[in-house]
Amino acid sequence: MRIVFASGKGGTGKTILATNLASVLADQDYAVAYLDCDVEAPNGHIFLKPFITSREAVTIPVPEVDEVRCTRCGRCGDFCPSHAIVCLGNAVLTFPELCHGCGGCTLVCPEKAIREIPRAIGELTRGAAGPIQFVEGRLQIGQPMSPPIIRAVKRHMPRAGIAILDAPPGTACPMMETVRGADFVVIVAEPTVFGLHDLTLAVDAIRKVGVPYGVALNRVGPGGDGVERYCAQANIPILLRIPEDRRIAEIYSRGDLAARTFPGFERWMSDLFGGLRAVVRS
């Protein structure tokens, strides 16, 4: 089962829930993998403290032009929608940082003068946190494109057992890339004005993908029942309510797992899993 933790707003508690759920399910002898798809700000390693077994570069193929064969016909530049290859009079220029790696320029070149060379845009780290299989993608600083790194992480998703994917915040392509192919999405939201607004955006986005989803509410305090009303009206199950408690924030700040130290947290994770499994089965 592939479970994604997503949110519209950042900092609502995706990583807390994803890492703690991974840890609690592993304690219950499930085969668990944690995949950090928040490749711009990957934080799961802080909580799971994995033993790293491999690091490899994530690359995309970018064009290299054989100047001798090239006749400057310009078809590559006409084709490329990212303007990553341009033919200007007597020269062909490439801009690898703009290239999406589609391979179109090599296909349209009538002289077979373009070959592709790998260009690193990030790193894929694999390891183990006790029994938990750990995979992390990390966008290289200064690189704009997250989705290829997320795809690289997802290629290491185990076929069996439970895969827990920690998504980047927002509703743009990195989040959608993470959610594609999931069995269930837990949208982590907080009951504030910003939290409600961004929850509605996340729901709209996930509905487009057509994956079952539910909400986990974090930092529930007095007031702020707008999120509860919205979920009731939109018929979205609320699978978990974690109260506002400064002690949880402090545990988080130190990089510790709340399920190990905060009374009741482990139970919340079990309940969350039970709740989402019931939705998936129905």
Partner: protein, 311 residues
């Protein structure tokens, strides 16, 4: 004109609350919300929209089922895993290939390799952007459609129009609310700006992501300052972050305490400094003064262009 971009790396550290406070405190400024896929600043500034414009992100492919011969060349050559053999049948074959619009990059390779000319391309709507008026001055903001493409291009558009508004109205300052992370929309929001203010929190995650953000601003040679939000949550990590900033020559412009007033202000659709004069409000005023002083003293860096501009 000077431009300040408020960023954080990690999400949920308080960027928008900070920008809302700056909106109330700064004079002669334009505001821009560049967190285009989860924009919240308008919830506090309650804008009156003057102008709405549609945003078109990127073209997408579509396979016309009646023309598809089922050869599969498109799926074979697609590097984005966007084509599946699950489209409706036609007179000749029971199933055709289909493009998942959410995965399509719009590169055009499928159209090039299709022997049946079955692929069509169209540019659709990916969101809209607005020029609005608020009680604290003009606001340029946007809304990326859920799952919309090319947020970097939309960020660049919002910044360009915010600059134009500043010029039209002869304003001195542009304050930009950025998005979390360090990828495409963030790079589009920092290129050529005068100062980045990083909002950090004293957690190991916050520290980790602040370091990545600082790496990004150093990469693009943009000056950066840091303020610590919820500064009293973990004093040990707070001092570690302060020492780290010092060692990197990054100025710490203030510490804002953990305070429920942030949520109360949101409920009232106000900024923290408009709600009351508690410790958080006082700290925010200090942060603004220090940041403003840096902005007016600072030099201009960068060339105003971003790698995302051409997307």
């Amino acid at each position: 004109m000077k431009e300040l971009v408020v960023l954080s790396g990690k999400g949920g550290t308080g960027k928008t609350s900070l920008v809302a406070a700056f909106a109330a405190l700064a004079e002669r400024k334009v505001l821009a919300d560049c967190d285009v896929d989860a924009a919240d600043l308008h919830l506090i500034l309650t804008p009156r929209t003057l102008q709405v414009q549609e945003f078109q992100g990127r073209r997408r492919a579509r396979i016309v089922p009646d023309r598809c011969a089922g050869c599969g060349a498109c799926a074979e050559f697609c590097r984005f895993g966007a084509i599946a053999f699950d489209g409706p049948g036609n007179e000749a074959i029971g199933r055709t290939y289909r493009v998942d619009p959410l995965a399509c990059d719009g590169c055009g390779v499928c159209g090039h390799v299709c022997p049946s000319q079955a692929v069509e391309f169209s540019i659709g709507r990916d969101g809209e952007w607005y020029i609005s008026e608020t009680r604290h001055g003009p606001l340029v903001h946007a809304r990326l459609d859920p799952g919309g493409e090319n947020s970097g291009k939309l960020v660049t558009l919002v910044r360009q129009h915010a600059r134009a508004v500043a010029e039209e109205r002869d304003l001195d300052l542009l304050v930009v609310d950025g998005s979390p992370g360090i990828g495409c929309p963030v790079i589009a929001s920092v290129a050529g700006t005068d100062l980045v203010l990083g909002v950090a929190e004293p957690t190991l995650s916050g520290q980790h992501d602040l370091e990545r953000l600082a790496g990004l601003t150093a990469h693009f040679r943009i000056p950066m300052a840091v303020c610590l939000n919820r500064a009293d949550l973990n004093p040990e990590i707070a001092s570690a972050t302060e020492r780290w900033c010092q060692a990197r020559g990054i100025r710490l412009v203030g510490r804002i305490p953990y305070d429920p007033v942030f949520n109360q202000a949101q409920e009232q659709r106000k900024s923290v400094v408009e709600v009351g004069g508690g410790p958080a409000a006082r700290a925010l005023r200090d942060v603004w003064q220090a940041t403003h002083a840096m902005l007016t003293a600072g030099r201009r860096f960068g060339n105003g262009r971003t790698v995302c501009d051409s997307w």
